[in-house]
């Protein structure tokens, strides 16, 4: 069963297009300097809609993670155990992702440095992260 397709609209199309082109993009506010994901119409810090799209370096740190042993959603039933993580990009935005190529979960810890690795999965391009230097 394929993973659920992203719900693409005019607010977030540039984000998903970026992943197809190999870039993780985020919003940067020209008014107040705030940087954020996921895509929104206005900056939630200064409330203006005066932002530009920037491309992330791909460096991030791990905030937290979970491992699903039961699938809440039927499309992930064949994938358990799978993980979902929260990471903080070097540029500031926080995003939800999957960790890849983890050999030993006992060595995983908050604050560890990660590197972006964009992967195609069921025709969807996703921003996943591996251990930096791995």
């Amino acid at each position: 069963m394929p993973i659920p397709a992203p719900e693409i609209d005019e607010t977030n199309r540039w984000y998903w297009d970026g992943l197809i082109l190999g870039e993780l993009r985020y919003q940067h506010c020209r008014q107040c300097g705030n940087s954020w994901l996921p895509p929104t119409e206005e900056c939630s810090q200064c409330l203006f809609a005066d932002w530009e799209i920037r491309t992330a370096s791909g460096k991030a740190t791990l905030v937290s993670w979970v491992r699903y042993h039961t699938a809440t959603h039927p499309e992930f039933k064949d994938r358990v155990p799978f993980n979902v993580a929260v990471v903080k990009l070097a540029e500031g935005p926080r995003t939800v992702t999957n960790l890849i190529d983890i050999a030993d979960w006992d060595t995983v810890h908050a604050g560890m440095t990660l590197q972006l690795k964009i992967e195609e999965d069921d025709d969807v391009y996703l921003a996943r992260f591996a251990l930096a230097g791995a």
């Binding site: 993973i3 996921p38 979970v66 039961t70 809440t72 959603h73 799978f82 979902v84 995003t95 939800v96």
Partner: protein
Amino acid sequence: MTAEGLREKYVVAGIGNTRFGDLDGRSTLSMNVEACRDALSDASVEKELVDAVFVKYPTSNFQSMYGQKVAERLGLQPRIGGVWDQAGASPSSMIAFAVMAIDAGQCEIALVTFADNPRSVSRHAYAHALGPYGPYGWFGVVAGYAMIAQAHMEEYGTTGEHLGAVAVACREHGKRNPNAQLRRPITLADHQRSPWVVEPLRRSDCCLISDGGAAVVVMSASRAHQLGVRDAVPILGFGQGQTSWEVAQRPSLVSTEACRSAETAFAMAGITPSQVDVAQLYDCFTIAVLMTLEAYGFCPPGQSGAFVSEPGALQVGGKLPLNTSGGLLSETGMPGLQLIHEGVRQIRGTSTSQVTGARTCVVSNQGGIMQTHSTLILGRC
């Protein structure tokens, strides 16, 4: 009027509920009616005197104007009411809003009610995608709490055994409550053998999914006295705090605005956490109890694991008897009103796990994945 001026001026005059568990697809309107009928009977108040109806919508089936549908089924045309949505924080907050509305002369006697049937009809509400991250597999309320639990473990060294101590205490109290849905107690070893759902949370860390309804009657202490209400329980304090943001966007995953909710409530009540005799803390997942203990000042941040692991700490006779009717983990997964009911029973002296001479009970309600929080302190100063 200062918040302190409301202390002990308002009461929970009556409590009522349906059976909890699998109610075989009974409608939420029907369960609301039964809970309200039972609460009015408990308060010995005639239905016609009710002029406010505050409703939390059924979690598993949002519908517009649901508050009016409940009022219609109750045969009432209230002066004030409607649906209040803070998810699981709604019950305590609706009681607070009822008090404020009565104090402002908008109404006199309020019903606060909730019913849902997720067990027999649909559990979909607990399994939705979290934000736009469905393609990454980010689904389900349990995963949101697991993400917070993992962060708490990383930050403070909290362990699965610490989570387990909460589950063991709630299940022990549920065993003694004949109305509890799950009455089988567990040991810490049982908890540690319980299968992972979303690691680091096990099945025994997760609340029940339950059908059922519950309601309370709120009025002023003077009105209750005038009406001859037998066992009205005073409201000492209340407060709210909203974390609001999705889990991934929070600057810290290990603390919430529950601390502001508690500060407001304790200031209004004029007591400190050390003066609390018994606590009913929202235990949708065990991690929520640990973080609430820290937010409320029962222990310093990061020390909740040690706090709950002291033998007997959460049992009757311990330093903070917890969830004495079994909580969401054992009595019913209903979002919050059952905890308020148990607070009322403790102050009345009628709990199945009664704390001798209990004079103060703190109740926490929280909603979503800790987006909302509400505190209610019941008792007599």
